[in-house]
């Protein structure tokens, strides 16, 4: 009997380790951002205008200090970005937290057309043509959305399409913790 005890115990331990791993798989599927709780990297980029000239002016991320805002990384080549577009428009209509749309490695004319046809949910649209700013934010796939607080600190990062539920549960609950509690 004694010779079976140790292998059986080892097998039991292995089962426990694997079961824990499988249970935690869904939350492990998205890699946590390394930038949570850190100051959002500052940048100045040319900005897209929805009407008129393609590039109107420049956008300086420092001008967003003192208020909550969400940095949404998108591109017209990104299928999931089309999925979340209506949710973005609803967030704009809600009017509580402005959206900054980082246009990631996109064709500016296509981006302009996209916003003219589908509606523009963004307060500003910095153009990250070579993807350098997206790398500073640790972006690995669009869409990604960062919640940034009035001190310029990154508080949350969502990978994948936004929805009304995600926006309320993950973003607004951080912006307004008291009101979100039932």
């Amino acid at each position: 009997v004694n010779r079976f005890v140790l292998p059986l115990a080892a097998f039991g331990l292995l089962i426990v380790v694997l079961a824990v791993g499988v249970r935690r798989a869904p939350e492990k599927a998205t890699i946590p951002s390394a930038l949570i709780g850190k100051v959002a990297p500052a940048f100045v980029l040319p900005a897209l205008a929805v009407e008129g000239n393609v590039i109107a002016s420049s956008f300086d991320s420092n001008t967003m200090r003192g208020q909550w805002y969400a940095l949404n990384v998108w591109g017209t080549w990104c299928a999931e970005c089309r999925v979340e577009h209506d949710a973005l428009l609803a967030i704009k209509a809600e009017g509580k937290v402005p959206l900054v749309g980082l246009n990631w490695k996109d064709d500016t004319a296509a981006a302009q057309q996209w916003l003219q046809q589908l509606g523009n949910p963004y307060a500003a649209i910095p153009i990250d043509a070579n993807g350098r700013v997206a790398i500073d934010y640790g972006v690995y796939g669009a869409p990604e959305t960062f919640l940034i607080d009035p001190q310029g600190m990154i508080r949350y990062r969502h990978v994948g399409a936004l929805s009304a539920t995600v926006w309320q549960d993950k973003f607004m609950s951080r912006v307004n913790p008291v009101a979100a509690a039932p």
């Binding site: 890699i31 390394a34 490695k105 993807g131 997206a134 790398i135 934010y137 640790g138 690995y140």
Partner: protein, 150 residues
Amino acid sequence: MNWLTNARAASRGLLLASLLFASPWVSAVDPEELADPVLQTRYRELSHELRCMQCQNQSIADSPVGLAGDLRREVRNLLLAGKTDDEIRDWMRERYGPFVLFRPEFAPRTAWLWLLPGLMLLGGGVVAWRVLRQRRSMLVSDTDEVEPRP
């Protein structure tokens, strides 16, 4: 021989020649190579150690996706700026987290990753040693207990 077979032979020769010469030529004009051979070696090693976050099981050296290309560009720029390998790894980790490194750092959280293989080898050695010793003593007792035939 008519003109057709001539043309065929010529095109076959051309194909062979292009296959023979294509690969070295392509690498010679590779825009991603660094002029300094020392930097180029470090670039090759580093880009194999960094994970492409978009595809996750490929290094940025192996992946064809756009983001991997952007990250290779940043590695080259950092090398040209005179950064050390550790500084470049830190630069990547600050942005993408420890997951970006294929070779995890030695930290309290990752200690078991590094120590477990050694511990298991040690454990296996102890088991093997005990089994061998037991077997030897069984052999000895075997010969002891056999009684000569009457």
